[in-house]
Amino acid sequence: MPSHSPLDTTIAVVTPENIAFDYQLAGPFRRMPAYLIDLLVRWAAIVILVVLAFFIGLLINIQTLGPFVIAGMFLTYFVISWFYGTVMETFFNGRTIGKWACGIRVIDVDGRPINGRRAFVRNLLRIVDLFPMAAPGIFVDSDIPPVFIIPTGLVGLIAMMSTKRLQRLGDLAAGTMVIIDQRSWRLPVAKVDDARVPALASFIPADYRISRSMARTLAVYAERRHYLTPARRREVARHLIIPLIDRFEFRSDIDPDLLMYALYYKTFLAESSAELPDLGSLAGYSPLRSSVAEVMVDEATDAEIPIAGVVE
């Protein structure tokens, strides 16, 4: 990772179409709830199957089927506790029930989907990631030998901390990473519903070229301004607008927020060839600083010199 790219929890992936796009990585704090849900589901499945098997055995004939039921229970326990994640991730395109609930998904580090072998490795190696196991018994009585049952997960945490894709050891060995699965996300388009904006935009001098960075700034501003209070909008916009008002020779009592918005409108929304918008009641107003004086001069000259067209 080049050291100047800003810190964030995203990773770029290049697709076979040769397009680079960003995935948002899921770190330990997102993955732990998913793991806990999976743990719950796993145990619930085991308990339900065991109870079901018991009842079936009771219904049919405990004498002949009993042993098979017990063997079946052992096998169920074995399969569910070891292969739950592997099977789920392979069949459901990298998701288990917990992952689905938390909106995350496992994929290959290259952005390709996970396959059975990778799922097998990463799910088995979870045992190592949950290391070291804690033994609650040592707090009660130091004489009994420690029974390690509660996972602390520090190995996995340290592994995630030291890899750029937030991978635990199982992920490293399997070559996978966990990403946040994008659900639907509406396309944000800032609409302009204020009639003053196009009016003001029409006064912005045509020789003012909007640079690429300026366009980006304007877009960021327009997208976020709904979340801010009007006072805060003005405060933010002032930094850029006050020198711009000077440059455009506008009156100084113009709302910075409005002018910012007008610039946005001019950059992104207005048709360059469009005619002047219908100004309605706003017709006749001008934000230009000199316009007040000019109108008066015009009237004065009208009276004295009949050729007003020359003045214009």
Partner: protein
Amino acid sequence: MNVAALLENRRDQWAELELFCDALEKRGKVSASMAANYQGSQGIARFSALYRSACADLALADAYQLPPATVTYLHRLIARSHNQLYRANRFEPARWVDMMFYDAPQQIFADPCVKIASIVFFGLFALAMYMGRNDVLFPGFVEAIIGSAGIEQMEESFEQPLSGSLNHYVPMAGFYIMHNTGIGLRCFVFGLLILPCLYVLSFNAIYLGAAFGYMARPDAVGGDNFFHFVTAHGPFELTAIALAGGAGLRLGVGFFRTCGLMRMESLRESAMRAVPIMAASAALFCMAAFTEGFLSPSPAPYIVKAAWAVLSSGLISFYFVVLGFPRDAFTRTPTANDGQPSPFGFEDPPELTGSGGPNDAA
């Protein structure tokens, strides 16, 4: 063209793509209620066309000066459709057969880690057996390893001649699969940290060896019954433990012996190579468990069990040696020309290690 008009143009297609994603995410396929041209191969073609055009939009986002939020939206949309377009392959049984009967034996035969694990396991096993058998030279060895309580329990359980019924066999087979395969998988997993794997491997070897040695003493109680019990499933089970250890070692060694790859690359590579070994080991564990559940505790005559042991050893040897012998060992015989570059040939470009520049080497 301004951005608003552009977005307006492209929006319909993006919305269509989202619709596809919704349907695919919910059911894994396009639902029947959608329009006819979204179904079947037509639908797939349409979906990929939409996906590609969204990709193109993202590629041109900078040139179009799209607002940042739209770019974020595109990133997410493409990520989402990417996950649907490139889906995980379901399990393919044909591949499994291939893995079990082609990959696994080849890998086992060629892998030095399996050899090391086998030597460690069987060596320690034999050593512990000898030490356990010989009470004069190594007094107290078995007691130190198994503990006197353990010995008593062992003797007690083999005091009576073997007898049993189906009621007993079936659950025991299930239990052995769960318990022993669990140990094998654990051994494999701990291989990532190497030392715990070696510990599990040697502990099992010494423990089992000491038990065998103790029972082989002429004065041991229930010694005959013990061997009656263990003979049949011994070959499967012992080999399975050694293989699980070997697979684990392969995993851990990959991290340290990189063979010119980047460390993580090498770890990944060796993990993928270890999977067939582990699968073979798990299969052996299951076969051992069935033998242990059904044949071993049965009162069948010793000769049957011994025959099964010989047969299973033969099968394992066939699997390892005949299936595992390198396929290209016969086809390619070295000739005198080898190693001498032809004057008309061209030099191979030096192979690049890893994918990146100098940063990756650090």
